[in-house]
């Protein structure tokens, strides 16, 4: 387990996330892609903290901020899904062609 191998795993997770966020029609699957991207970034961040930054606690603080971003993204995403479904009955991105109803 070297820093480089962890970076490659994180890059793989990020690449899968990019594919999911760009290709999926369903809102929830799209959010899963975004989550996978943040997941890969978080993994590389912790690897850097552990192997390249001498274990400075600031790195762990940044990881806590990343997790906050994940929670914010998920909860606001679910709220927007609820709102879009209620007003437009939309569950996939193709049904939201117009911003105004």
């Amino acid at each position: 387990m070297t820093t480089e191998t962890v970076i490659v795993v994180g890059a793989a997770l990020f690449g899968i996330g990019v594919y999911g966020a760009l290709s999926q029609q369903s809102f929830v699957m799209l959010m899963m892609g975004i989550e996978l991207m943040i997941n890969g970034a978080l993994l590389v961040l912790v690897a850097m903290w552990s192997r390249a930054a001498g274990g400075s606690p600031d790195g762990q603080m940044l990881a806590v901020v990343f997790m906050t971003v994940m929670a914010v993204e998920m909860s606001l995403g679910f709220a927007l899904i609820t709102s879009a479904y209620r007003v437009k009955r939309a569950d996939i991105t193709e049904k939201l062609r117009k911003l105004k109803g």
Partner: protein, 188 residues
């Protein structure tokens, strides 16, 4: 811990993280996709524990377990075909997306391999959790508190967006009936 068990565990968890990540977008059932994503997150949390960030790894696993259950419930509530009884391919711009994902992977992995990472490992591996605790309630308390207020604001905002009634009346006023066919325009 000696090196070999750690390397084997890292290889196993990496395989789980990546394979489960791919399976998220390759399964018919959306609920199953949520649990594949949870498996991917759990494997990443385990790698974080191997790297010495025990607290962060366990917090990630706990947080994601709750989040994926919420996700599965949202799937069942809103999505067509949540149980995967029918084959499901719901993708657009598939080739572009595959190419973009591959480019992102190759570019990031290339930067990681070519960038020359400094070698400064954790000096005192056992003290990581204690250090984080002192940092959270010491120098970085403002960051910690800001994250908390941000989450509070998110809760208020999420409720405001998703509430059935707002100050201007019903949220679904002038809404449209659901379309009978998947690709049909909703009726006004």
């Amino acid at each position: 811990m000696s090196d070999l068990p750690v390397s084997l565990a890292f290889a196993a968890f990496s395989a789980v993280a990546v394979v489960a990540g791919i399976r998220v977008f390759r399964t018919d059932s959306m609920v199953r996709a949520a649990f594949y994503l949870l498996a991917s997150f759990a494997a990443v949390g385990a790698i974080m524990v191997l790297l010495g960030a025990e607290f962060l790894g366990m917090v990630l696993i706990l947080m994601m377990a709750g989040e994926m259950l919420v996700m599965a419930i949202v799937m069942v509530m809103y999505m067509m075909n949540p149980a995967g009884l029918n084959p499901m391919v719901m993708v657009h711009q598939h080739r572009t997306a595959i190419a973009a994902g591959a480019v992102a992977f190759l570019a990031l992995a290339g930067v990681g391999l070519a960038g020359g990472v400094p070698q400064r490992p954790v000096t005192n591996p056992g003290a990581a959790t204690g250090d984080l605790g002192r940092e959270l309630l010491g120098n970085s308390m403002l960051v910690f508190q800001t994250a908390g207020v941000t989450l509070l604001g998110t809760m208020v905002g999420a409720i405001a967006i998703a509430a059935p009634r707002g100050r201007f009346g019903d949220a679904d006023a002038d809404s449209q009936e659901p379309a009978l066919q998947p690709d049909e325009e909703p009726e006004a």
